[in-house]
Amino acid sequence: MMLEIRNVKKNFDGHTVLDGIDLDVQKGDVTAILGPSGSGKTTFLRCLNFLERADSGTMVFDGERFDMHNAKKAEIARVRKKTAFVFQNYNLFLNKTALQNVTLGLTSGLGMKKEEAEERALKALEKVGMADRLKHYPNQLSGGQQQRVAIARALAMQPEIIYFDEPTSALDPELIGEVLSVMRELAEEGMTMLVVTHEMDFARNVSSQVLFMDGGKVIESGPSKEFFAAPKQERSREFIRAIREARE
């Protein structure tokens, strides 16, 4: 097992956001985290990268055990080195070009030489189809293009797993496809991904397992095929039905 997460809990001002979340991820898994708004999906994902501190919980990453509440700076740095994060609002560095957005983490975060970083960045940008926009600033790119650069930035770090936090939720409908197709390609190449999403087609067709959350709890988890073909919990059935109806 690459990643074993146990009993993650988190309160915000006395309000329980995460109430004991467990998750196992194998190398190559694409995990879709589903659930209604406010179910704690994003908070859970942010806790995994210590952007948010869980109140309690443990994470075993590549055999190394981390206390999710008390992890020290060096431990956090080790986890972040193995992971990458793609944000809902892209969060590209606004004062950097597309190319610089990808190289900055390599040179400043990993201490790589500039030429080597640029070479690697170029490959990552080619992969997401953004090699012709190297000198563009985020403000000069569409949302879909920005998100693809953000994915290139994540890829270039050569992480063991990429966390995606609703990567298409801020996009205009006509731009969602280009981002999803990049993600699908990554999945097919065996990249391990953890994706908070509302894209049911993506979850159904691309993800290998589903974690369905509501009210800070895991309602149901398991292989995607089973989840969509025969959801075990009433709450899951309702959710799938509601999403389907909303789209028709």
Binding site: N91, L104, N139
Partner: protein, 224 residues
């Protein structure tokens, strides 16, 4: 205009201009440099929420913004020697002007730092950058770009405030006007002339500000 007055004006203009260039401008630049360094430190301490130091910064801003510049000049130049702290007039003016404007500039910079989206910091953390590196490469450049027009304003304000240094015997542009006036008594003409020279200096600064803004660009968009 009679010949005498014309003679006074043509005599005094180069003298005032000379003291403007030799004293007013260096006083402005030195005070601004001091103000910038202090303001950046004070702003960063507050932005990073450093304990204790942060309270000290708030206290400093409270005192500095709450008391007049002229009074501060008098306290430092005429008052402090009573307790054995003596400055020459020029350094006293640099210190007071610098520390005074720094309080305003610190608030400007703190505001623009806090205006940089928190996502920028988070994105930096996620690619393994440390806090100081994120500040240096990402947050500060964006904040400084936004702060640039306001900081230029501070410099223009400071250029004019240097005239107050005349009250603590710094021989600068305005003091020179006063001295000449003491000899020939033509206050309207001479002080208008001094005003004109300040206006020329400020116009140059404004021009440089526009040049600077263009040069800094806006990262490819209207929104920096």
């Amino acid at each position: 205009m009679d010949e005498r007055l014309w003679g006074i004006l043509t005599d005094s203009f180069p003298k005032m201009l000379e003291y403007g260039v030799k004293v007013t401008i260096p006083l402005t630049l030195l005070s601004f440099a001091l103000a910038f360094v202090v303001a950046l430190g004070v702003a960063l301490i507050q932005y990073a929420r450093v304990k204790v130091l942060r309270q000290i910064c708030r206290f400093y801003i409270w005192i500095t913004r709450g008391t007049p510049l002229l009074v501060q000049l008098y306290i430092v130049f005429y008052g402090l020697p009573k307790v054995g702290i003596m400055f020459d007039a020029f350094p006293a003016a640099v210190i007071v002007l610098g520390l005074n404007e720094a309080a305003y500039m610190a608030e400007t910079i703190r505001g623009t730092l806090e205006g940089v989206s928190k996502g920028q910091l988070e994105a930096g953390l996620c690619v393994g950058m440390t806090w100081p590196k994120i500040m240096w490469h990402v947050v500060l450049p964006q904040a400084m770009r936004t702060a640039f027009p306001a900081l230029s304003n501070s410099m223009i304000a400071m250029l004019k405030e240097t005239s107050m240094a005349a009250t603590i015997t710094v021989m600068e542009l305005f003091r020179q006007a006063q001295v000449i006036n003491g000899r020939v008594y033509e206050p309207l003409a001479l002080y208008l002339e001094a005003a004109l020279i300040y206006l020329i200096f400020c116009t140059i600064l404004t021009f440089l500000q526009h040049r600077g803004e263009k040069r800094l660009g806006s990262y490819g968009g209207t929104k920096a």
